[in-house]
């Protein structure tokens, strides 16, 4: 029988008559219907659960693990937060402590984390598609779910959706947020934080309203072309202007400049009026003794920046500033810029002259050597004005005749949830949101020639930190219910009255924090009135010395009058009081010499305080906390007692440990410390 005939017979067997056709098709239908339920038995997640059972079979606690295991789809379900996370279906062992040594995914124990798995689910931190039970849909960007798993290096951004404070476990996020404030991103971009407030920039771009008094067109040209050539630590970004553009901007800025308050005042004398002194040497040492390096940095010969970063770098100040302007500035900074953080130091004429000559000697002859600008004309000024408008200089600097723009740059409040259809990627770059943000920060102009965002010359680590901070700005963060947002309130504090005016003039809060406002370079003065003795305070204000010799920062000597010192000290002593510091707090009669002897024993033997504090310059070397050699003059006994009992209550975050001292021990130590006085002559009463 031929093949055709055989085939025909078989065919007729199955579909020859109508009942046979019916039977064949019914069997086929039954088979096809059975496929789908059978497929369920071979799901991806069942495979992983089987592998898990295989893995735990050989472990010492296999029996217990097997009893704890339940097969099937697992989920973390929190209906109020709309969390349905089925990650634990495959990642079975997340909460099994005995599997901490397993390194094979997906059977690892979850590393230690601040929140438990059932508190918020998985997706809130790791992103991805929680409802999925297949690897592709859960982890990667698919048609039905755009957001893939967040790479591990950006994980801290998820903490930032609720937490606004600087947490210990989020160093990258904290750094990124500091950079956001420091590099002035918030001047152009509005970034709303989870508590509804905007990110406040902490850099203070100077006003350009009176710029022509301060510097030259050539310097503005060089600065605009490359800020970091003038000052390596400058946070001003590089706009990549062409030479003609920079020249036009310089022309415009000089043209729009108006005279400042200082310009009308009498000019302080220059160094030329001090003949016969080695002005360079004296100027250098004056700069040193005045400790300008507390705020200003200068690059030393080795190329290292020495000094603080609160104020502009002065390495090449001589190239920049007009000598007349400089002397007027040193005499009265607020006369040029009312908002400056620099205090009015009350220098005398000689100090002003020496200091300005020192600063003017800080020059780099190469900086402006090749800058030859054509004469400024009306067209150049008009072009410059247009450029200044287009590039949004006024978002940071005050400039006459131009109003600050509204929403000059895109709002970044929800950048962490930006849908990818709104994103234009570069050719060849991975198409994920974190890569986009990092790429944009690293080189904004690469994304389009017409973009105005300048280049910030940040290191890779800084870019990663900034990306982390920006990824925290998600839809969830911005719509977080207020009761779930974790932030400490920061009320604004301004001292009032005459003392307040003096503190404004001296800019105390540039360095000191009071009631949560101010700088962190100098001690917190919130409870200073309870802490210090009046005599010491008066003496200190007259001649500030240091409690920490190894630091380069110092309180300046302000040449205050006695009346000013008295007024300021009395204000501080009465206003900056902590609660519970009345006379009943400590029985001062108990601070006798026996107690002091016992306290000395405790100080040196039991608690080895000398490992961190110097009580006796001859014996002790420990140098972590302030020197205690004159602490009996400085601090009140009640403060010392309360501080020893619980330092963190008086200064939250202090490195001083709480030794859980008993009342007696604390009293004895207080008695000992009260005997540590440095005998000094004179001083105010």
């Amino acid at each position: 029988m031929s093949l055709g005939n055989q085939f025909g017979r078989v065919w007729r067997f199955f579909v020859g008559t109508a009942p046979r056709r019916f039977a064949s098709v019914s069997v086929l239908l039954a088979i096809v219907s059975a496929i789908a339920p059978t497929k369920d038995f071979f799901s991806e997640w069942r495979h992983y659960q089987k592998e898990y059972l295989h893995l735990i079979r050989t472990r010492p606690d296999a029996g217990r693990l097997q009893r704890r295991f339940e097969s099937g789809v697992h989920q973390i379900w929190i209906p109020e937060q709309r969390v349905v996370d089925r990650c634990t279906t495959c990642h079975v062992a997340l909460q099994e402590a005995s599997l901490s040594d397993v390194r094979k995914e997906p059977f690892r124990q979850h590393p230690s984390m601040p929140h438990s798995l059932t508190e918020f689910g998985c997706v809130v931190c790791h992103h991805g598609q929680g409802a999925a039970t297949t690897v592709q849909e859960a982890h990667y960007s698919t048609k039905a779910w755009e957001q893939p798993i967040l790479p591990a290096r950006y994980l801290e951004s998820s903490c930032g959706q609720c937490h606004m404070d600087a947490l210990e476990g989020t160093p990258q996020l904290n750094l990124g947020r500091r950079l956001l404030a420091r590099y002035g991103c918030a001047h152009c971009h509005a970034i709303t934080q989870p508590d509804g407030t905007l990110v406040a920039p902490v850099d203070e771009p100077p006003s350009l309203e009176h710029i022509a008094e301060k510097t030259t067109r050539e310097w503005i040209f060089a600065w605009t072309k490359n800020p970091q050539a003038y000052a390596a630590s400058a946070t001003m970004p590089n706009y990549r202007f062409s030479d003609p553009e920079a020249a036009d901007i310089a022309s415009f800025l000089v043209a729009q400049s108006t005279p400042s308050e200082n310009s009308a005042k009498e000019l302080p004398k220059s160094v030329a009026s001090l003949p016969g002194s080695d002005t360079v040497q004296e100027g250098t040492s004056l700069y040193g003794t005045l400790f300008c390096a507390s705020c200003h940095a200068i690059q030393n010969a080795a190329g290292n920046l020495v000094g603080g970063e609160m104020a502009p770098e002065l390495t090449r100040a001589g190239n920049k500033v007009n000598p007349d302007w400089l002397r007027r500035w040193l005499r009265a900074p607020q006369g040029y810029d009312p908002k400056t953080r620099m205090p009015r130091y009350r220098f005398d004429e000689k100090q002003t002259a020496l200091l300005s000559s020192f600063l003017l000697s800080k020059k780099d002859d190469d900086l402006l050597a090749n800058v030859h600008l054509p004469a400024s004309d009306a067209e150049s000024i008009a072009r410059g004005k247009k450029l200044v408008n287009d590039y949004g200089c006024v978002a940071c600097h005050r400039i006459n005749g131009i109003n600050p723009p509204e929403s000059f740059a895109p709002d970044l409040s929800r950048i962490g949830s930006k849908p990818l259809f709104q994103v234009g990627f570069l050719r060849g770059m991975p198409e994920t949101l974190p890569d986009y943000i990092a790429g944009k920060i690293h080189d904004p102009r690469a994304f389009g020639p017409a973009l105005k965002m300048p280049n910030f010359s940040l290191t890779d680590g800084q870019v990663e930190a900034l990306t982390t901070a920006l990824l925290a700005q998600t839809d969830r963060a911005v719509t977080m219910p207020p009761e779930l947002v974790r932030s400490s309130p920061h009320p604004k504090y301004h001292p009032g009255g005459d003392a307040g005016r003096l503190m404004e003039d001296l800019r105390c809060q540039s360095c000191h924090a009071i009631n949560g406002n101010g700088g962190d370079m100098a001690p917190d003065l919130t409870f200073e009135g309870s802490a210090v003795n009046r005599a010491w305070l008066l003496d200190f204000m007259k001649n500030p010395n240091t409690l920490r010799p190894a630091l380069i920062r110092r309180m300046p000597k302000f040449n205050l009058s006695d009346a000013e010192i008295k007024g300021l000290s009395d204000y501080m002593l009465s206003a900056y009081q902590a609660s519970g510091f009345d006379s009943q707090a400590l029985d001062l009669t108990a601070l006798n010499s026996d107690a002091a002897t016992r306290g000395k024993q405790l100080f040196y033997s039991k608690y080895a305080c000398q490992s961190c504090h110097i009580a006796d310059y001859k014996k002790d070397k420990g140098y972590v906390g302030p020197v205690l050699a004159g602490v009996g003059d400085r601090l009140t006994p009640v403060w010392m007692y309360r501080w020893l009992k619980n330092p963190n209550a008086l200064l939250p975050g202090t490195p001083m440990p709480n030794f859980s001292l008993s009342d007696d021990e604390a009293r004895d130590l207080t008695a000992f410390l009260a005997t540590l006085k440095e005998h000094k002559k004179g001083g105010l009463k």
Partner: protein, 240 residues
């Protein structure tokens, strides 16, 4: 009929060959230069957060038999869980190759292996250890920087001056001192941090931090110490 069949089969065989995708991978590097030894120049024992890039690249140098640097030698890098850029490279004129390392997602130690083919067959290798810090280790690092490193770290930074030289013996151990700290159990470390040196019969120069730090913070510091220990810390086998 037969010719048609042959033609069809040939077509069916040839077409898939032509349809293979051209891969974008660069052709592998090769080198005729063989070194004798590969040494580490810098970049060892760095710690960074999980998934992050190390701050400094790892730099290795290939030396010839006479000990001088060898240029043009092929060095390849591999490490489980690490992302290495580039995975292989030729050494430059000073015999050095630099690789940028991105850590994996698991907190703990990672091992980077660099090898270069040797003259006469085989290869010379060097292992470089790097450390990935998870959440707990990061907390421990922050806490230790604030409370501990002034005394335990001999290096000074612009922010703080080291206090170690100001202390009387017995001097504190650096946290990377695995030789000493690895032999102390976790319970011991927690005890000495919480209750101070006298709790373990040691110097009172270590204060008691029980009332200053929370239990979680103390455990985090211990985790950090374990993570950065050199030689690396091996946890004791769990007993049940």
């Amino acid at each position: 009929m037969k010719r048609r069949r042959v033609a069809c089969l040939t077509f069916l065989l040839i077409v898939p060959l032509g349809c293979t995708k051209r891969s974008n991978v660069n052709p592998p590097l090769s080198s005729k230069v063989y070194g004798a030894q590969i040494v580490l120049v810098s970049g060892d024992k760095q710690a960074a957060g999980v998934g992050s890039k190390l701050t400094d690249p790892v730099v290795v140098q290939v030396n010839g038999a006479d000990g001088s640097a060898l240029a043009g030698a092929l060095v390849s890098f591999h490490g489980e869980g690490l992302v290495l850029t580039p995975a292989e490279a030729l050494s430059d004129v000073s015999g050095q190759v630099s690789v940028s390392v991105q850590l994996g997602g698991i907190p703990g130690g990672y091992e980077l292996v660099a090898d270069a083919p040797k003259a006469g067959g085989g290869s010379t290798t060097i292992n470089v250890c790097e450390i990935a810090l998870g959440y707990q280790e990061k907390v421990g690092k922050e806490v230790s920087y604030k409370y501990c490193t002034t005394c335990h770290d001999p290096e000074s930074t612009p922010e703080r001056v080291s206090n170690l030289d100001n202390l009387a013996p017995p001097l504190p151990h650096q946290f990377t001192d695995g030789n000493t700290l690895n032999s102390m159990s976790d319970a011991d470390l927690i005890k000495i941090i919480a209750d101070g040196g006298p709790a373990l019969g040691k110097s009172p120069q270590t204060p008691a931090y029980r009332s200053t730090l929370t239990q979680a913070q103390i455990k985090a510091v211990v985790a950090y110490i374990r993570a950065i220990a050199d030689p690396p810390y091996q946890p004791p086998a769990t007993k049940h």
